[in-house]
């Protein structure tokens, strides 16, 4: 286990460097100017030049190396050691300024948005587990029954309907018609439920299908028959003996799902006005906001790799057979 963790952590910087380089090449190739606001007035050319110089946008090589040195903490380390006469950077990992929202740095932006995205993403996964496991088990107990058919249909709807439709539908039904909950705010528990539910549906559907398949297979196994023969109550057989094994494929799906729930929430964030990180992926590319693109990609990639690691570790912990 320790070997696994060490290997993955050692590979982390190399993977990140590759991701950084690829993202840089793609982002740099985006059309248009990063410093000019396309729908507004254009400043004099001398000003555009000065801005590009300030942000190293006039020289891809300098931008690439400077940004890397700032974002990895290399600059912080060297300047702190040097005790330079200038001022050392305020953050160890400095992801640079936002070009579109000038008063904010990428660090501040991520510090505000990442917890929101994590709350939303994890709540969604949590809801997905509850819905998915319940539906999956219910369906597996009576394959091809009405309940099974019903849950499969709902799962299909959950996967096929875009979150934009489900989200707007929820907004119209609950806050607008029934007066339950609020629109366009974030903070209280009730604000989290609707976006989390919307976000969770595709995951719930997938988990339901995984659970159902796993359960049907497990319920036919010899040890379940033994357990039943021993006279154990049905719920103990199902929840303790069968679900434990049927859950393993779901667990391995949770790593990528959690990461996806946190990134894939652009539409949900838009519909419910959630101040999360997903919007920055899309908006930064539209605005060619290089610092946000690079910063958010780096942070997210690190998280993704760490999540997968956590899930792998948990997998081994839950099922000691796996080496």
């Amino acid at each position: 286990m320790i070997g696994l963790i060490a290997r993955r952590l050692l590979a982390l910087p190399i993977i990140l460097l590759v991701i950084y380089t690829v993202t840089f090449v793609l982002a740099w190739a985006l059309p248009g100017s990063a410093v000019v606001n396309d729908e507004g007035r254009k400043p004099p050319q001398a000003v555009i030049d000065a801005m590009e110089r300030q942000y190293n946008l006039d020289d891809p090589y300098r931008f690439y190396t400077q940004y890397l040195s700032n974002a990895t903490g290399f600059r912080w380390v060297t300047e702190t050691l040097k005790g330079a006469d200038g001022d050392p950077p305020r953050h160890i990992f400095n992801f640079g300024p936002c070009l579109r929202y000038e008063d904010w740095t990428v660090n501040e932006l991520v510090a505000g948005a990442l917890p929101v995205s994590m709350v939303l993403g994890f709540s969604a996964i949590f809801i997905a587990l509850i819905i998915g496991l319940t539906a999956g088990v219910a369906g597996a107990l009576r394959p091809n029954s009405l309940i099974d058919l019903g849950t499969l249909t709902i799962a299909l709807v959950g996967i096929s309907l875009p979150p934009f439709v489900i989200g707007t539908f929820l907004l119209l039904v609950f806050p607008v018609w029934l007066g339950i909950g609020r629109v366009g705010s974030w903070g209280s528990l009730s604000d989290i439920i609707m976006p989390a539910l919307t976000l969770s549906l595709p995951f719930a559907a997938y988990i339901a299908r995984l659970t159902r398949l796993g359960m049907i297979e497990t319920l036919g196994a010899d040890y379940i028959r033994t357990a039943r023969a021993k006279g154990l109550p049905a719920h103990v057989v199902i929840l303790k003996h069968a679900l434990k094994n049927a859950f393993l494929p779901v667990l391995s799906y949770l790593g990528p799902a959690a990461a996806y729930a946190m990134t894939g929430s652009f539409v949900v964030e838009q519909v419910f006005d959630v101040p999360g990180l997903g919007q920055h992926f899309v908006n930064a590319v539209r605005n060619k906001d290089l610092f946000i693109i690079m910063g958010v990609t780096l942070i997210y990639s690190s998280l993704l790799i760490l999540f997968n690691l956590v899930v792998d570790v948990m997998y081994r912990w839950v099922d000691p057979r796996i080496e």
Partner: protein, 603 residues
């Protein structure tokens, strides 16, 4: 299984802690919705409508507009009075002696001189540097001088570019600013400004956010000089509470990015009685549909900029008496399409739109009434001119070109497109067919629709083929910059109450002249207007400039005047009694200026 439940339980518990720790604040006296969060709270860097509106709430400039007056005139704000020299070049402002910053320090004339210098140098200059500040004597020279100074510095050997040398550079620049630019703090409460040219609209410029003061000690803490380039680097951390110091009716209490901004009445504001709502909450909601739903559920008292696809239906409902919360305003802005006016297209082919007769022909072939009806359905007013009619006192708009197919075809024939090829496309004397017209739009429904409908009109009028080209905004802007287009959607909102805020778009080499239009005759008219001391005569020159471009030259094809939509409940019911929850103090002015401190929710 138990282990797993433990892990899940732990995650769930931590989620709850995060969620519960994040409680929203109680409802403010006024809550309103903006469609984006603020770009900046630094007045010198502002250009967005939302930012400007905030500026007028948290800062106070020398003057402000009377936003309820028909002529939108300027009234005293921080400057209680002013004298103008007989030649209209020297303005002496007498500042309110009791005015204070939100930290209790007095507001002085020097604070203005400091603020204005910030964007008169290329280090920090912004979109408005030239149009506003270059009216001041010595400002443009100072800008050029500083640019040259920085160029010279960067050319020095690396060893000579030290922190000390860079600071020295800045100090020379400060001396030069004080000695050559016509901005002079005579004493703490007197500011004298000398202009390079008479500028009848100068006071109007001073009501605009770029000219508002900042608190020098606060800002200066976040300024450093870059030893490598010699340039001044302004960091923006000072704009966030509790660091920010302002001098207006409000102070910023909190600012959570893309979530909420809270304002409260500034205890040090010198004229507190004007402030109607003591606490203000501003919610940035980017999704148009969600923001309208938020207003509908009562989350806000005012929606400052509604732009949903069902606006037309909302207006219908209002007409039918089913709703009263939508309020359209005709703005100080024009929607138009631009022609690429350069002699050749980027692929080297001759550009037919270089010929003004072709541009006139196209303008005459568009039935704007029908276009607005099909594309917008929300009552926008078609227009044949660029400067919105009736918005500037003393300026009379020309007629422009209206829909006239017969004349349109004549114009095209006069331009040499007399023949027809087998497909019915016009050809010129050498038998070349009129190229298929690429119509460049961004991916927005009404731009696409406008392109398609106009394309049909052009094909029906002349037999010329058209093609809609849809691009992402950055790619579209890039195409405009490189003049890699034939016709493209565009638009413009004026900044100040003078025709030049629109007409400068056609000036040769202007940064916003995406058409590449250049006509010495037009440039000469603008120059003549600049030199004209008599404001009446000056307006006549500008009227002629507008007529020349809108009836003869047509670098742009004006389509309609932009509408703007506010959502709020009216302050009184139909029977004249107060309507609780309604909004008082809003202005229907085309300039869309709302002073937050004038707004009040009826209780």
């Amino acid at each position: 299984m138990r282990k797993l439940l433990a892990v899940l339980g732990l995650i769930f518990a931590s989620l709850m802690v995060v969620a519960i720790a994040d409680r929203p604040l109680p409802r403010a006296e006024l809550t309103y919705i903006d469609i984006v969060d603020f770009k900046t709270l630094d007045p010198q860097r502002m250009s967005y409508m939302q930012d400007n509106r905030l500026c007028y709430a948290i800062y106070e400039g020398l003057v402000r507009w009377d936003n309820f007056s028909d002529d939108f005139h300027v009234e005293p704000a921080l400057a209680r009075s002013w004298d103008i020299s007989p030649d209209d070049l020297v303005y002496t402002f007498h500042l309110e002696p009791t005015a204070k910053w939100s930290n209790g320090e007095p507001v002085t004339a020097n604070d203005f001189a400091y603020a204005w210098q910030r964007i008169m140098v290329p280090d920090n200059a912004t979109d408005y540097t030239a149009s506003i500040f270059f009216r001041i004597k010595g400002a443009e020279d100072y800008f050029e001088w500083r640019a040259a100074q920085l160029d010279e510095y960067r050319a020095r050997p690396a060893l000579e570019r030290t922190q000390v040398a860079a600071e020295q550079l800045r100090s020379e620049s400060n001396d030069r600013y004080r000695s050559t630019v016509g901005i002079e703090p005579v004493d703490d409460h007197t500011l004298r400004v000398t202009l390079a040219l008479p500028t009848p609209y100068f006071l109007d410029l001073l009501a605009f956010s770029s000219t508002y003061p900042v608190h020098p000690p606060t800002v200066e803490k976040w300024v450093r000089v870059d030893a490598d380039t010699g340039a001044i680097r302004q960091e923006h951390a000072w704009t966030k509470p509790p660091l920010i110091v302002t001098n207006g009716p409000y102070v910023v209490q909190s600012w959570r990015f893309k979530r909420e901004m809270r304002l409260k009445a500034n205890p040090h504001y010198w004229n507190p009685s004007v402030v109607r709502s003591k606490t203000v909450s501003i919610l940035p909601i980017e999704s148009e549909n969600t923001s309208v739903l938020a207003f509908k559920t009562g989350a806000a008292d005012w929606h400052s900029d509604t732009d949903v696809e069902y606006i037309a239906d909302m207006l219908e409902q209002k007409k039918a008496g089913l709703r009263e919360d939508i309020h359209p305003v005709k703005t100080f802005g024009t929607y138009f399409w631009g022609f690429n006016c350069t002699p050749r297209l980027t692929d080297g082919r001759p550009n037919p739109f270089h010929d003004a007769r072709v541009r006139r022909a196209f303008a005459l072939a568009i039935d704007k009434q029908a276009l607005v009806r099909t594309v917008k359905r929300s009552g926008e007013e078609p227009t044949n001119v660029l400067v919105p009619e009736g918005t500037i006192a003393g300026f009379t708009s020309p007629k422009g070109l209206s829909y006239d197919l017969v004349r349109a075809r004549e114009e095209l024939a006069n331009a040499g497109w007399t023949g027809k090829n087998a497909e019915g496309v016009p050809t010129n004397a050498s038998g070349e067919a009129f190229p298929a017209v690429e119509m460049l739009v961004t991916n927005v429904q009404f731009h696409r629709d406008a392109g398609l409908v106009m394309g049909r009109m052009i094909e029906e009028a002349f037999g010329i083929k058209t093609k809609l080209v849809v691009k992402e905004t950055k790619a579209y802007a890039d195409d405009l910059d490189r003049r890699d287009y034939m016709m493209a959607r565009a638009g413009w909102y004026g900044d100040y109450g003078d025709p030049t805020t629109f007409l400068l778009l056609h000036k040769t080499g202007d940064g916003n002249n995406d058409r590449g239009y250049s006509n010495p005759k037009f440039d000469a008219m603008l120059d003549a207007a600049d030199r004209e001391a008599d404001p009446e005569k000056r307006m006549r020159i500008l009227e002629e400039a507008e007529r020349f471009t809108m009836e003869e030259e047509l670098p742009i094809l004006p389509l309609w005047r932009y509408n703007h939509y506010y959502l709020f409940h009216p302050p009184t019911k139909a029977d004249g009694t107060p309507n609780p929850g309604g909004l008082k103090g809003w202005s229907p002015s085309p300039r869309l200026v709302q002073y937050i401190w004038k707004l009040e929710v009826v209780r």
